[in-house]
């Protein structure tokens, strides 16, 4: 198929997936912000959410203060924020429109209708009235577009490039959701050096407890709610209970969301899909990209959570995000319209 067409399909899928995961991330942040805590802590929660999306500077440029309504506004409806749900759904729809001939009518109409309905939802104040319902809506539109794709599209290259976009974006986004807790702790650099005042709570459990002392007085139940919220944000709370039949511990949450190949939003599952799809669309240039993806997949498949997190969850996730980004660049070079700037 045309490289340009493949490019639009790939980004269409990435943007709808990104919108979904942004909704998930906002949802978890909103939920945890309702826990009993100081205003300072609540603000840190929102800052973390922006930090993980690499949006703190652009937020600060338009909003001098930090508050839940302002962050929600910025992350949902701000057309100048290219990562807002509004911008993502618009970009998904514009990409779909550019190649609507390569989509089934059902897929195109789903994207188009999502975009039209979004404007109605925002105009009618659903976000302010019931943010949770709005996030549900975003998630379901994304579910629908994925389902319609699987349910109606011929399984040819068009289909595969859509899938490639979906899973590459999901690998990236799940890693960011997992990492959001780290950003809540403030300056990332000092944390990486093991100098922070607060522990990275993901490493509190068992063997991975290496990065300094546990902060005294941090109520343990907050931890529980935090990780429960993370699990819920990726629809994994019930799955966790079924798989582990145990209390919620950060290490197991990490294991579930990083290594479990049968957990559909885990890093392992996402990278697996990327590898399989790359194999189906391979051409005579794509060997190196496939090799890198395969290597990453193998590490997730055969790795042990304790080893992966030996240097801390944040270090692992940072490395993972870099490699996913590298694979994305490779895909663009090998098949699509080469990226001018890294996305």
């Amino acid at each position: 198929m045309l490289s340009r067409t493949a490019d639009h399909l790939f980004w269409m899928a990435r943007y709808i997936e990104r919108a979904e995961n942004t909704a998930r991330m906002l949802d978890v942040t909103l939920t945890t912000s309702l826990l009993p805590q100081s205003p300072r802590q609540a603000e840190l929660g929102w800052r973390a959410m922006l930090g993980i999306s690499e949006l703190q500077p652009s937020y600060d440029a338009v909003h001098p203060t930090m508050s839940a309504p302002l962050v929600l506004d910025f992350m949902v409806r701000d057309p100048d924020n290219s990562s807002s749900i509004y911008s993502c759904l618009q970009a998904a729809r514009e990409n779909a429109r550019a190649v609507r001939g390569a989509l089934t009518t059902d897929v195109w109409e789903t994207h188009n209708y999502t975009w039209l309905q979004l404007q109605t939802q925002l105009r009618d104040g659903l976000l302010e009235r019931d943010p949770k319902q709005f996030f549900e809506w975003v998630k379901f539109r994304s579910h629908l577009s994925r389902g319609v794709t699987i349910g109606t599209m011929l399984q040819d290259e068009a289909f595969y490039f859509i899938r490639l976009g979906t899973f590459l974006e999901r690998a990236d986004n799940t890693a960011r959701i997992l990492d959001v807790k780290f950003h809540e702790l403030g300056d990332g650099q000092s944390q990486r050096d093991g100098q922070s005042q607060r522990d990275d709570q993901s490493q509190r459990d068992g063997q991975s407890q290496r990065n300094g002392p546990e902060q005294p007085g941090s109520p343990h139940y907050l931890d529980y709610y935090y990780w429960a919220a993370v699990l819920r944000s990726v629809s994994a709370f019930e799955i966790y209970r079924r798989v582990y039949r145990d209390v919620i511990t950060p290490l197991r949450v990490a294991e579930l969301l990083i290594l479990r190949p049968d957990m559909p939003r885990s890093l392992a599952a996402s990278v697996n899909e990327v590898c399989g799809t790359l194999e189906r669309v391979k051409n005579d240039r794509s060997g190196e990209t496939a090799r890198r993806a395969g290597l990453l997949g193998a590490e997730l498949r055969f790795g042990r959570i304790e080893d992966l997190l030996a240097r801390g969850m944040h270090a692992f996730l940072t490395g993972f995000l870099e490699r996913v980004n590298d694979i994305g660049q490779g895909i663009s070079q090998d098949f699509l319209v080469p990226l001018e700037t890294p996305q």
Partner: protein, 472 residues
């Protein structure tokens, strides 16, 4: 114009219903206003969701609008359609003969049928095409011929669109919409189907592939998603199962055209192009064009790729050439024209200019190269100021204009704010020429929604209707 002198497609003057509308009118009378309002809202919602929109130039990039759709169909009885169809085939055959002639032996010109300067000095004439042989000698593969009905109900050809005529997707979507909204109507009326148009088009495009290509790769070349007809480009490419390409997707190498695919370059044999000649090849035509493909003309001239329509068809649909089409039919086919032209004054002729200047308030004056309802004056609908302003433009460049009497276009009952009222309509049938001529019954009916307006172009606030040819 006196209202009663206007031909109404549904009613005869004293209030009776024309027989071919009998069944429909009876059905309509039985529908409640509420139901019809509901159906019209539904149609709007579906068009919006499906994204059947067009961009309006000057409205800001990316502005999309719906073309208003009217649920009362325009119905053509079978005998009238047979006459139209025969006349259209004849006309398009003659136009293709003319195009071949004009770029080869120029017999028509040498026979003195048309002033030679009027062709050779015309900006639509492409000297690059002189002596070039195109597949099957066909130039206008897709022709959209605008037909109007005036006076007591006579059909006239208003203009020939031979460059990149658009609108066929609306014809198809309108039918789909009517069948969705009112399936029972299609049980009660034997409406000739049109949905196979994309099949005919694909067959047509494949039939004109370069010699020696057995299984041609056909693509549709679009200017991109901000073009007003982008919906149609995607629609047709999808319906035919061919790639929708932009100029940047194509490149020329080793004397052939290729497209960039995820598996490397792939040879292209037939390009159904929906961009104007001027933008096709920046090395030959407009150098600032980013829509075209560098080197395309060379490949085309060597016969290794087919362009549909051919380069240079504009010379045959130029409004200053239009008055000579009946002569072309006599000259090339030895036949009597079956469809009449509208009387036309060529302002390049002093007598015609004189007449035009004296009768501006009654005439329609059009730019010879323009289309889409842009750059025209409708005398009876214009203020004195607008007429005077136009007079200056006309005097500055008389050869750029033609004038025609303001035709009392036929009307068809149409939903407007106050209920149902007659509105003026025209008809654009699509004629496909390849190794044979094919067409689907009917075409796109456009309707001028403003009361009294004669301008049906979608860019000027026109709407569309489903067009029924009734089978007997």
């Amino acid at each position: 114009m006196v209202e009663s002198s206007i031909f109404n497609e549904m009613y005869v003057n004293q209030g009776g219903v024309r027989s071919h509308y009998g069944s429909f009118e009876g059905w309509l009378a039985g529908q409640s206003d509420d139901l019809m309002r509901l159906k019209r809202t539904e149609a709007d919602q579906v068009f919006r969701r499906v994204g059947i929109t067009f961009a309006v130039y000057g409205d800001g990039a990316g502005m999309e609008r719906l073309i208003p759709f009217d649920v009362i169909p325009r119905i053509i009885p079978q005998p009238e359609w047979r006459l139209l169809e025969t006349g259209l085939r004849q006309r398009v055959r003659a136009l293709n003969c003319f195009l071949h002639d004009v770029y080869h032996d120029q017999e028509f010109l040498r026979a003195g049928k048309l002033p030679i300067d009027q062709v050779l000095q015309n900006s639509q004439y492409r000297p690059e095409m002189r002596g070039i042989d195109v597949a099957s000698d066909i130039y206008a593969h897709i022709a959209g011929i605008d037909i109007v009905r005036a006076g007591a109900g006579d059909y006239y050809v208003l203009e020939d669109n031979l460059r990149v005529p658009s609108g066929v997707s609306y014809m198809l979507e309108n039918r789909r919409m009517m069948m969705r909204l009112f399936p029972e109507l299609f049980v009660r009326n034997r409406v000739a189907p049109v949905e196979h148009y994309p099949d005919l088009l694909l067959e047509n495009l494949r039939s004109v592939a370069p010699q020696g290509v057995d299984d041609p790769t056909v693509v549709l070349l679009t200017p991109g998603m901000y073009n007003s007809a982008y919906f149609e480009h995607t629609f047709l490419a999808q319906q035919m199962g061919i790639e929708l390409v932009e100029g940047k997707d194509l490149f020329v190498q080793d004397g052939a055209v290729f497209m960039r695919t995820t598996r490397g370059p792939r040879r292209v044999d037939v390009i159904y192009r929906r961009i104007d000649d001027d933008f096709l090849d920046p090395t030959v035509f407009r150098a600032d064009s980013t829509l075209g493909v560098a080197g395309l003309l060379d490949v085309y001239r060597s016969g290794r790729v087919t362009l549909a329509n051919a380069i240079g068809t504009g010379i045959a649909d130029d409004k200053s050439i239009y008055p000579y089409v009946p002569d072309m039919i006599a000259f090339y086919l030895g036949e009597k024209p079956l469809l009449a032209n509208v009387p036309t004054y060529c302002c390049r002729e002093p007598d015609d200019l004189q007449y035009t200047l004296e009768h501006l308030p009654e005439l329609v004056v059009k730019e010879v190269h323009n289309a889409g309802g842009y750059g025209m004056l409708v005398g009876p609908a214009s203020t004195r100021g607008e007429i005077e302003e136009f007079r200056d433009r006309l005097l500055a460049r008389p050869d750029n204009y033609i004038a025609q009497p303001t035709l009392a276009l036929s009307t068809c009952p149409t939903y407007v704010e106050a209920g149902i009222a007659p509105r003026h309509i025209d008809l654009r049938p699509f004629v496909l020429s390849g190794t044979q001529i094919t067409m689907v019954p009917g075409g796109l009916t456009r309707v001028a929604l403003r009361e009294g307006s004669l301008v049906v172009n979608s860019s000027q606030g026109g709407g569309t209707k489903d067009t029924w040819v009734l089978e007997e």
